[in-house]
């Protein structure tokens, strides 16, 4: 079974634009729906709060690993650590990598999340499974919101 996630999308925007959306903490917060305390700095912890409606009580925390301008942005985190009652800090984090490549029409973005082999697979909170439909709907609302309010 695959224990990593890989996504590739073509974006009709220059690499510099995508890089800014990924690494400027305010811009990242806009599309990822998280309010971050300050800029991303390599090797430092990035903290903030989720701004998805209904999930505002949830903290965001990641450790910035690499920032190679317009090429690679990576951080480690505890994916979807959305149960405030669970201490995720003892779990080995997963690694999220955004790789950018220039294309004729814009930018190719390659996303990988790896390291799931170190994660207890069953810690997905039951509350989350129950809320899954609602969460998915929230994400769709966001997409509509972002598209309509550029």
């Amino acid at each position: 079974m695959e224990n990593r996630i890989e996504k590739r999308i073509e974006l009709k925007a220059p690499v510099s634009r995508v890089w800014r959306a990924l690494t400027d903490y305010r811009e990242f917060g806009e599309w990822f729906r998280v309010k971050l305390d300050g800029p991303f700095v390599t090797g430092e912890i990035s903290r903030g709060y989720i701004t998805w409606p209904g999930y505002e009580h949830l903290k965001w925390e990641a450790v910035v690993q690499k920032m190679e301008p317009e090429r690679l942005f990576s951080f480690t985190w505890h994916p979807y650590s959305i149960d405030p009652a669970v201490d995720y800090s003892k779990e080995t984090p997963t690694l999220v990598e955004f790789r950018l490549e220039k294309t004729e029409s814009g930018t190719l973005l390659l996303l990988t999340e790896s390291g799931f082999e170190n994660l207890p697979a069953h810690r997905l909170p039951e509350a989350f499974l129950r809320n899954d439909g609602g969460w998915t709907q929230q994400m769709k609302n966001i997409e509509i919101h972002v598209t309509q309010n550029p």
Partner: protein, 108 residues
């Protein structure tokens, strides 16, 4: 088998090995197998196979059932299904996040 025990099971790591995947392929249909049968057709020794079965057993992917003096191993599909469902959820969240990113950077 409690939820708490399950939460400690390193399922993804247990699955990240060719030999163990081969063993699971044999066990896939739910029929219990003895170590002897699981060793058949393998280049590995009985001891090596037993070691791999222990890893799967600890992750609660297979369980040991006793048939007389012999130990049989049987697949429990629950942890694998849950692991897969977990990855599906994370994967879907990324689809949504990347689609928000697209809307954000492609906005005029």
């Amino acid at each position: 088998m409690s939820r708490k025990t399950l939460s400690q099971a390193p399922v993804f790591r247990a699955l990240g090995d060719e030999t163990r995947l081969t063993l699971l392929a044999k066990l896939c249909c739910g029929e219990p197998y003895s170590i002897t049968r699981l060793t058949e057709g393998s280049k590995l020794t009985r001891q090596a196979i037993t070691k791999h079965l222990r890893v799967l057993e600890r992750a609660e992917i297979v369980r040991r059932v006793h048939a007389g003096r012999e130990s049989l191993y049987q697949l429990d599909p629950t942890p694998i299904n849950e692991a897969k469902r977990y990855l599906d959820v994370v994967s879907e969240q990324w689809d949504q996040a990347l689609s928000s990113l697209r809307a954000f950077v492609e906005a005029p």
